[in-house]
């Protein structure tokens, strides 16, 4: 993945854009759901992950956006805005500079592992129920408020595109004995 936007951005531009991005989604979930910037989110995810996400990822991207913005979309929108305007070689530094590293890591972990972290207070949210099913039996009784890890798509996790020599477990890998040789 190297589709650099080819233009650097100034701090002033980014802050202005981030503010605008944040403003349209405030105050929280209702507006976030009303305007899911899925194309921009996929573009930013592609740049963060180093793996191109084409239109076939639209549904997954929309689901992931909803799951990651259950508590509001402001930081996510700001992160998307920033990532889509910074060259790859400056991405890590700029994310740190704008305090968006944690948000980016959350997105990356979700895409690479096909897994998200969900707080029990969101378990009855229709978005969660539709994408992840009933998670109530995953709660640790000793820590009832702690978030649980939930898989939204094992097979589409990006590790399997990163590790081109293998496939998701429980997927046929090839003809019998393919494992004898190094991958083509």
């Amino acid at each position: 993945m190297s589709d650099d936007p080819g233009r650097a951005v100034s701090r002033r531009t980014v802050i202005k854009g981030m503010a605008a991005a944040a403003a349209v989604c405030l105050p929280g979930r209702a507006m976030a759901a009303a305007a899911i910037p899925v194309d921009a989110f996929l573009a930013a995810s592609s740049r963060l992950a180093g793996i191109a996400l084409d239109a076939s990822y639209t549904d997954l991207g929309e689901t992931l956006w909803r799951l990651l913005t259950l508590d509001g979309a402001a930081r996510m929108r700001a992160m998307v805005f920033l990532v889509n305007r910074v060259p790859e070689d400056r991405l890590a530094r700029e994310l740190r500079r704008f305090g968006l590293g944690k948000t980016a890591r959350t997105v990356l972990n979700a895409w690479y592992q096909g897994t998200v972290s969900i707080l029990p207070r969101h378990f009855r949210d229709p978005v969660v129920l539709r994408a992840l099913g009933d998670l109530s039996d995953r709660v640790d009784p000793a820590k009832p408020g702690r978030a649980v890890a939930a898989v939204f798509s094992y097979d589409e996790a990006l590790v399997w595109r990163s590790c081109r020599f293998t496939k998701p477990s429980a997927t046929c890998g090839g003809p019998f004995g393919y494992w004898q040789d190094s991958p083509p």
Partner: protein, 584 residues
């Protein structure tokens, strides 16, 4: 016989089998094929393979039990924390000579633990049956490799076992039913290092996994998930013979938890009480009655039922078939040595391809005169590398935590994953009467039945084998140029070995544990009723119509995967039952 419980339902048959795993299903099939009326009870539910795969994918931990829905009435050792079921008061001990956490996993489902077994179909070695005579350790079996050989062959034919002369295996008088499952690219690269470091190349392993389409099951296509579940049924599991037995008339009753055996004044077993959870959590009381009873519930639940039955319904106070005081004793499980690391940069080995547990191993220490000094050991090269199913994800987590993004992250995850190497040693543990399963009287399962209490430790003989395995693994790693980022190389010194067995070395690269693939020895076989629970045909010395069959009968385990020998004992016992049934 005092039947002091009033059942609400009954099951009547010629033969009642408790447990529907590898042993129970083969016995049911054999006995049904001989015209006997068989009913098989299992505490757990049937498994829907498609639903299990979906559950596996949905579970973020991807542990051995992840695909399976355990029923609350049939609890098992949890694969994250087995001590939610086992009660082992000192399991956090750091000194394995005093106590070591027993991590023997099993499942209570129709088809049993075979659902998540490795698929390794290994015969024990001739020397495994006479270790006392040959090597001065352990106990001799009352039968020999030659006695079992025809039954090994029958199991291999009906399971479908793949292998060839290169496999790590004892001498055999018949060819394998299917061509060998070849070694992986990873196996061959590690084998080259083995050849340089210890004079041994890696070798293939006999597998109960279709290398060609056979018996209505497809050829393996390397799904890399066989532990915990083969999505296409290319790997054998006991659901195959559950189905074959049903076709011949065996009735399979799932969700029936046996909790009490009843014995009559003639010392014969007269019934098995169970609770039926088909229609909810209340558990309707039932009674299963037959001429012959078979306990085939592995090496924890069989002795547990025998001890639970003590002092009630005509069963003596010392328990069912326990005049020898050997029920629950002599628990055996492997010692496990794990070493992990990364092949050198630029030399990927490509794990996560092919059967996930192992297609290759170093096989030079299964049997021989060295067993005078140290036990049998096997060493496997794990295609599942650091963590089957989620190893690449853990690399991604680490890369993301390190601040990598973009193509740097993508390439880092691939590079690190492609270089993972994991060697897994399994070391024989000889029987010790104080290593045992008893009942935790005050810690009960959801049915109010005492949970199994475990006492387990390793002796110096076993630890010498663990030391040898650990040092050998280090030698192979050194020959490969294995890297351990963030940890300095560990020299195989006395002090470091002590740290190793106390699990004080870096847990990313070293692990020491016990249990693993074998749970055995808790209803031992023998020729003398004073020192054994069952005779060489797996028949109780105390109750002439009771058979206790499986790894519980083992006197030694060697270091092979245990299932094939249990299956051979099962067919041998089933033949005897069918041959003598009219006299029963």
């Amino acid at each position: 016989m005092t039947m002091d419980l009033i059942p609400q339902e009954t099951i009547d048959a010629d033969v009642i089998i408790i447990g529907s795993g590898v042993v129970g299903s083969l016995m049911a099939w054999t006995l049904s094929s001989r015209g006997l009326n068989v009913a098989m009870l299992d505490a757990g539910a049937p498994v829907d393979r498609v639903a299990a795969i979906e559950r596996f994918k949905r579970n973020p931990e991807k542990e051995a039990n992840s695909p399976y829905r355990m029923m609350p009435w049939a609890p098992v050792p949890n694969d994250v924390d087995p001590f939610t079921y086992y009660v082992q008061p000192d399991h956090q001990s750091k000194d394995p000579r005093r106590q070591i956490a027993f991590k023997g996993f099993f499942m209570r489902l129709v088809g049993g633990t075979s659902w998540h077994w490795t698929g390794h179909a290994e015969r024990m070695y001739p020397g495994d049956f006479k270790t006392r005579t040959l090597y001065g350790h352990g106990v001799d079996w009352p039968l020999s490799y030659e006695d079992l050989q025809p039954f090994y062959h029958r199991v291999e034919e009906t399971w479908g076992v793949a292998g060839d002369a290169a496999c790590t295996a004892p001498p055999r008088d018949t060819p394998y039913p299917m061509p060998v499952v070849p070694r992986s690219y990873l196996d061959r690269r590690v084998g080259e290092a083995g050849l340089a470091a210890i004079g041994q190349d890696s070798r293939p392993v006999p597998h109960a996994r279709n290398s060609v389409p056979r018996a209505g099951r497809p050829q393996c296509c390397g799904n890399s998930s066989c532990l915990p579940i083969c999505p296409i049924g290319a790997k054998y599991d006991a659901s195959v013979h559950v189905g074959m037995a049903q076709t011949l008339g065996t009735r399979v009753h799932a969700n029936r938890v046996a909790f009490q055996v009843a014995v009559g004044p003639d010392r014969k077993v007269g019934g098995v009480y169970y609770r039926n959870f088909d229609n909810g959590a209340d558990g309707v009381l039932g009674l299963a009655r037959a001429k012959i009873y078979i306990l085939a519930s592995h090496a924890v639940e069989s002795p547990r039922l025998m001890l639970l039955s003590a002092g009630k319904c005509g069963v003596p106070d010392h328990g069912l078939s326990n005049s020898s005081d050997q029920v629950g004793r002599n628990l055996m499980g492997f010692g496990n040595t794990d070493t992990l690391g990364y092949a050198p940069k630029g030399k990927p080995v490509y794990p996560y391809r092919g059967p996930v547990s192992a297609t290759g191993n170093f096989g030079g220490w299964r049997d021989g005169a060295f067993r005078r000094e140290r036990p049998s050991m096997a060493m496997f090269i794990l295609n599942g590398a650091f963590r089957p199913a989620i190893g690449p994800m853990l690399e991604a987590q680490a890369g993301i935590a390190a601040g990598l993004v973009g193509t740097a992250l993508r390439d880092w995850v691939e590079d690190r994953t492609a270089r993972q190497v994991h060697l897994h040693g399994t070391i024989e543990v000889m029987s010790d009467p104080d290593n045992r399963i008893t009942l935790a009287r005050h810690e009960c399962d959801p049915l109010g039945l005492p949970r199994p209490k475990v006492n387990f430790r390793l002796d110096d003989y076993t630890l010498r084998g663990c030391r040898y395995a650990w040092e050998t693994q280090i030698k192979i790693f050194q020959a490969m140029g294995i890297e351990t980022p963030g940890m300095a190389p560990v020299a195989p010194t006395d002090a470091n070995f002590e740290k190793f067995i106390r699990n004080e070395l870096d847990p990313r690269y070293f692990g020491f544990s016990s249990g693993d693939a074998v749970i055995a020895g808790t209803a031992r076989m023998g020729a003398d009723p004073k020192t054994a629970v069952v005779d060489p045909l797996c028949r109780s010395f105390d109750h002439p119509n009771l058979f206790v069959v499986g790894t519980a009968n083992y006197l030694t385990t060697g270091s092979a995967s245990p299932s094939l020998t249990a299956a051979a004992l099962a067919i041998r016992a089933a033949d005897h039952i069918a041959d003598t049934f009219r006299d029963a």
